[in-house]
Symmetry: C2
Subunit: 321 residues, 2 copies
């Protein structure tokens, strides 16, 4: 086996559950990847050691040496500072308190990595490789454990003054509403995230147990997640449909506000919206049209994200293609 | 009197009440200006004839000829299309229905003008000449007859997909709230614009006539405007202070949502906020800090706009400097 002559790109996706590392050719075509559990309880030094080993392993498998790496892109949960490359205690990596990730990686590989939060990197990936291709103003919204967004304008991420732009999930819709993880009340995320949907469903089922949702969890109300709500709604369970109706109203309201403020061509929604499809997206679309101004509301497309499980790998690579 | 040798810039500010035209040197230093009433009931052809005459008059006064104009900037109420230079029925210029303003001006002066809506041009002016100098992420919010915003990121206006970005006044805060001019309900503008404040004040005064506001209008409730509310609040009138408290809550809420979505360095607020000063701005600042996420909320400055009456002139010139 010989040595390759070309350069390569390295992408690293750092999540609370797993670490993924990919090596790609200069065009961003992924050649190989490796995954490992993050074991976040073992701290950031353990994770960084794993990442370095995974990169070396991939380089070896694909017959590259370290000095053939032309760029390294890292997608990681925020908050983080893209200029200094410092990561500040992401909720899913609680031990990562002001970690100078860019410095650490640079000292190891002698190349400065590009570091970006996962929602922003995901938006760039959807714009470059996914459902956002060909649009100038793309929003990618996560809708799973949390609700966040990356905003891409003319191919560039809108970072904001302190890398905090895109926190659409923390716009307040109900000032005295449910408590949010961020400490405020009534944020979109506190109403429509996966855990919020689950909690809302559990409360409704306690009051009205005549629902297919209960069958799906063997009558264990505490086990209800957003997945069961979607499954029951797909078989026309009235309680589940009622919940979908509520969720889509608040999602549509939050997206309408976003549409009025930044006037995107397309809003792509991840995980839960991908699983639910038009069952959730159609009422969201109707609400957006009703609650936004006419011109931006008529223009914007509301679609499921396209890259699915692949998004982490492509997100990291899209930072450096 | 001799002929000047240098080139000049021309700025045109088209409002529903008045037209203003300025001529500036190549650095944007305003040399002279002319104003005329728009007389919008006389239609767009009349206004365009006035504008052409005003420009010629200014050129003559400042000893330039038409072929010394290096650029023309036009600030006008939206909606309009910045790419085609077509203006679509601004609320204050109802007769301007799909007027190809850029084409008309180009055919007259043989130079393609830059056309921008007034909130965006105002934001650029505040960024270049006013309170936004030195910041990378600047929002300029109008707060008078309507509430809108221009967003400047790294010195460039954020236009959105169809020149509609910045409609922060039409984010919905109260889904069943007061009817807005846009046709929706409960928009920020329907709660906090000048006319909305006046209406809210009139309703309160009808229920509770023990207020200094009534003295300021010689007991004519219908004559109450936002100006009287501010004046009474400055002398600590309880009803007026109560209103200021309400208005600042909704303004702060709307700005907090904006701060979470685009993470600006500074938000500059015009007219009413300039007149009210910290009486209105301090409670707005407290609400923004409470209702936005910690990092973007701590960074953002909420300040009165700086350019005042001058903004129209500078807005038009800032498009072409």
């Amino acid at each position: 086996m010989g040595q390759r002559l070309s350069l390569c790109l390295v992408g690293v996706d750092i999540g609370g559950t797993k670490l993924a590392t990919v090596v790609a050719d200069a065009n961003g075509q992924i050649l190989n990847k490796v995954r490992q559990p993050t074991e976040s309880h073992r701290g950031f030094e353990h994770a960084i050691k794993l990442i370095v080993d995974m990169i070396d392993q991939l380089l070896h498998l694909e017959q590259f040496t370290r000095d053939q790496i032309s760029a390294i892109g890292i997608s990681c949960g925020g908050p983080l500072d893209t200029k200094t490359g410092v990561v500040y205690s992401p909720p899913n990596l609680p031990d990562w308190d002001a970690i100078p990730l860019a410095d650490i990686v640079e000292s190891e590989f002698k190349i400065r990595p590009v570091i970006e939060n996962d929602a922003n990197a995901g938006a760039l990936a959807e714009w470059r490789f996914g459902a956002g291709r060909g649009y100038n103003h793309v929003v990618f919204m996560t809708m799973s454990t949390g609700i966040g967004a990356g905003i891409v304008v003319d191919g560039r991420i809108l970072h904001g003054a302190s890398d905090c732009a895109g926190e659409v999930g923390h716009q307040v819709l109900i000032p005295n509403g449910p408590v949010c993880g961020c400490g405020n009340r009534g944020c979109l995320e506190a109403i429509c995230s996966g855990p919020a949907i689950a909690q809302r469903a559990q409360e409704k089922v306690r009051k009205n147990p005549h629902t297919k949702i209960l069958d799906l969890v063997d009558d264990n109300i505490e086990a209800i997640r957003s997945e069961e709500v979607l499954e029951a709604a797909k078989s026309a369970d009235p309680l589940a449909l009622d919940l979908i109706h509520e969720i889509s109203f608040y999602m549509g309201w939050g997206i309408a506000n976003l549409v009025n403020i930044i006037n995107p061509d397309i809003v792509l929604i991840g995980t839960i919206a991908v699983a639910a499809g038009d069952l959730l997206l159609d009422p969201i679309r109707r609400t957006v049209l009703e609650m936004s101004m006419q011109r931006p509301g008529e223009i914007v497309k509301i679609m499921p994200a396209q890259l699915g499980q692949q998004i982490g790998d492509l997100a990291a690579i899209s930072l450096v293609v």
